[in-house]
Every structure is written in C-alpha cells, then in structure tokens.
C-alpha cells in the first residue's frame, strides 16, 4: 500500500509541464490534486516513473464568465467549484453534481481538470460536460486546441489527450438549459451504480459503459451496461431507465 519509487518534478508554467511531458515520454504522469493518481499508485495499479507536479502552475485556477461561456481552469478544486456562486448561478447542474463527488477532504484537493483527464467512467463530471456541450481546452508545445466533451472521452480512463498535451480548462456555453442530476449509490460519496446528468434534451449517463454515454431524451434508451460486484448489467439498465423517467418528469415531459 505504498507507491513505488518515482522521480518528481515541480513545474511553474504550462510550457514547462508540456516540455517535461515531451522529455520524459509516456511513463511520466501529470500530478494535480492527486486524489485519483495517488491511490492508484498506492495500490500499485499505476507506476509512473516520473510525476510532473502541476499543482502550483499559475493561471489555471480561475472561474470566469466571458463571451457567453463559463470557463473553469484545470486546477480549480472541486470544493472551490462547489462553493462558487457564479457556477451555482449559471450552471446549477454542476453544483449539484459536485456535491456527489467523493467526500469533503477529497474534494478539497482534487481538481476539475484532473477529474476530467482521468476519464473515470463512473465519475460525475465527464457526464456533466457531455450534457452541457462543454468544450475542453488542451495545450501542448504546439499551441492550444479545443475538443468537444463528447469527442474527448474515448474509453476506460482514455481521452484524446496526446502524450505532450495537458488539459488546461473547460468551457461551458451559456445559458445552460433546464437540468436534472441524480445518481444511485450505496453510500454517500461512493461511486454511482448508475448516474444521470441531463441538460435540456441531452442526457449523459455515467457508470453504464467504459465512458460517459450521451443520449437524446427523445430517443429510446439502448444501453448495454457491464455487470460488476455492485450491480448486474440488467439492474444498471433498469436504473438508467428509472433515472431517465425521473428526468423527463422533472422536465415536465412524458413519463
């Protein structure tokens, strides 16, 4: 239950972080809040040879509304976002979802960018970003590109991030439509057995596949969730339908 040995580099800028990624190759990992990476290392599920600590990089912890978008910097911590009045005002879906992310001590350290880049299919935030039509800002030595959230998550803990790229912000278009968020978990703070983040007609389910799954509220629900120790695939499919029906009732539509 102790992490294997690794080298540690602390960087001060995004450019330094990208340069370190280029220099150290695929065995290097970025360390932000560390609330997913360090447990994985303690459990020896991950053993990067180099950790590049971006925790003190300046300019990535801002929350602002500009040009019709809510922009959240990659290093904004969950607890900060949860308490942010601007987020609560403009995107209450996100505030509600953040309440369900782990526990206060984890939220106080873990970052929004780290959560998204980790691409856990059971995590609330990737699904929220799909529902909200968010755009993810990615920076590398060759510049900045923007990726739609629905193109960003490509598999179990897999994103389209290239080895020299880092996630630097996420942007949510405003105004955000009517929303609904619920997850079914055994205990507060546990991973969801099934969850749903909905924004307008966009329903994003989590814990139902190897990545968050986006469906239109008007379409039939064609999910094929996996079975594990928490629930069978059939139970997950049932619960996903229950959550969808609740969302449609909340939106005042058909049941």
């Amino acid at each position: 239950m102790k992490a294997p040995a690794f080298d540690y580099i602390k960087v001060a800028t995004v450019a330094e972080a990208c340069a370190a990624l280029v220099q150290h190759g695929p065995d290097a990992r970025l360390l932000a809040g560390g609330q997913s990476l360090l447990p994985a290392m303690n459990l020896r599920l991950a053993s990067p040879s180099v950790l590049i600590d971006i925790g003190r990089v300046h300019g990535l912890d801002g929350i602002e509304v500009r040009d019709g978008k809510l922009r959240i910097g990659a290093l904004v911590r969950h607890e900060t976002a949860l308490r942010d009045a601007m987020i609560a005002n403009h995107v209450p879906l996100l505030t509600e979802a953040l309440r369900h992310v782990a526990h206060p001590a984890i939220r106080a350290r873990g970052t929004i960018g780290g959560n998204l880049a980790h691409a856990d299919p059971a995590s609330e935030l990737p699904a929220c970003m799909l529902a909200l039509s968010a755009v993810i800002e990615v920076t590398s030595p060759s510049g900045t590109r923007h990726v739609a959230a629905e193109d960003f998550f490509v598999g179990l803990f897999q994103t389209v991030l290239l080895p020299d790229e880092m996630l630097t912000a996420v942007e949510i278009p405003l105004p955000a439509p009517a929303w609904f968020f619920q997850e079914i978990a055994r205990r507060s703070g546990d991973y969801a057995i099934v969850g749903l983040a909905a924004s307008g007609t966009r329903l994003a389910f989590f814990s139902v596949a190897d990545r968050p799954v986006l469906r239109q509220s008007t379409a039939a629900l064609d999910l094929d969730p996996p079975s594990d120790l928490q629930a069978t695939g059939a139970m997950r499919r049932h619960l996903a339908n229950v959550l969808r029906d609740r969302a449609l009732v909340a939106f005042g539509g058909r049941t």
Binding site: G34, P104, R109, S188
Partner: protein
C-alpha cells in the same frame, strides 16, 4: 528532495523521498502518530489532516507536495485547545470505542463546525461520510458533534 513546511506552527526543513506520503512523513519522520493510516487509498479518513486550512487525506498527498504548506494535525488542534470542547463531548458521549478513527473524525467534525455552526444530523453525517468508524459508533459521534455545536452557539 528538500522541503520546508510548517507543521502545527513549527517550521520543518528536511529531506524526503518523493514516494513518501504526508501520513508516513508525519508519523515516521516527525513522530506525530496521531495521524492514523488505515486504507492508504483515501477511503477510510483516519489520516485526515488540515493543509492550509482545508481538509486533506494525508495518504493522498505526497510530502513533497506539502512543501511550503501549513499542515495541522490532531496534535496541533488538540494542544492549541481549539477542539477541547469537541474532544470533551466525544468523551462524554462515548463517541469512540477503539479510537482509531477518532483523530480524523475530530478534524472533519471541526471543519464542519467552522463552516456551519448549526448543522442538522443529516449534514453532520454527510460531512463525516468519508470517515469510517468500524466500531459502528456513528450515532454517538453525531450526538457529540450536535452537543458541541449547541455549546458553541450558547444555546
């Protein structure tokens, strides 16, 4: 790797391997064994400390990440008298049996009380949901936190 941090008000300058997490650093390097290590992957809450005024899992923070930070452990909170009433309430209400979870429970409960002087039972349970007590003493723990909140409000 060289680090400098403040632990319970005292400046510490030392050298530490990158793989050492803050929990081990506090216990093994500074002999502050009040920070307990249970699961070491962020689930049990026994290693809860304060970093720059916010809750943190000492097992999920590397000592090198705490460079430049202000760390407070149960020893600091206890010695300063900050949580004396909370400790007394835990004692009176039998809110601990083996005591393994108690340092984490106290720090997490104090974090809530600082933010919310009048929490209801559900709020307390929610805030302590990341702290496991395997002696199943939750009811008494919630009672103790309620009592402390009431006492601080002067009700």
């Amino acid at each position: 790797m060289k680090i400098a941090l403040t632990v319970n008000g005292e400046t510490i300058r030392t050298e530490v391997e990158p793989r050492v997490h803050l929990g081990d650093f506090l216990r093994e390097h500074l002999s502050l064994t009040g920070t307990h290590l249970g699961c070491e992957h962020g689930v049990c809450g026994a290693c809860t400390v304060r970093i720059d005024g916010n809750l943190a899992r000492a097992c999920l923070v590397l000592a090198v990440q705490a460079d430049g930070c202000d760390v407070q452990t149960i020893e600091g909170l206890s010695d300063s008298g900050e949580i004396a009433d909370l400790q007394q309430a835990f004692h009176e209400r039998n809110a601990l049996q083996c005591g393994f979870c108690t340092p984490g429970m106290l720090i997490a409960a104090q974090d809530l009380l600082l933010r919310n002087p009048d929490p209801d039972r559900d709020t307390i349970r929610e805030h302590l949901s990341g702290n496991y007590c395997r002696c199943t003493g939750y009811h008494a723990i919630v009672d103790a936190v309620m009592t402390t909140a009431k006492g601080r409000r002067g009700d």
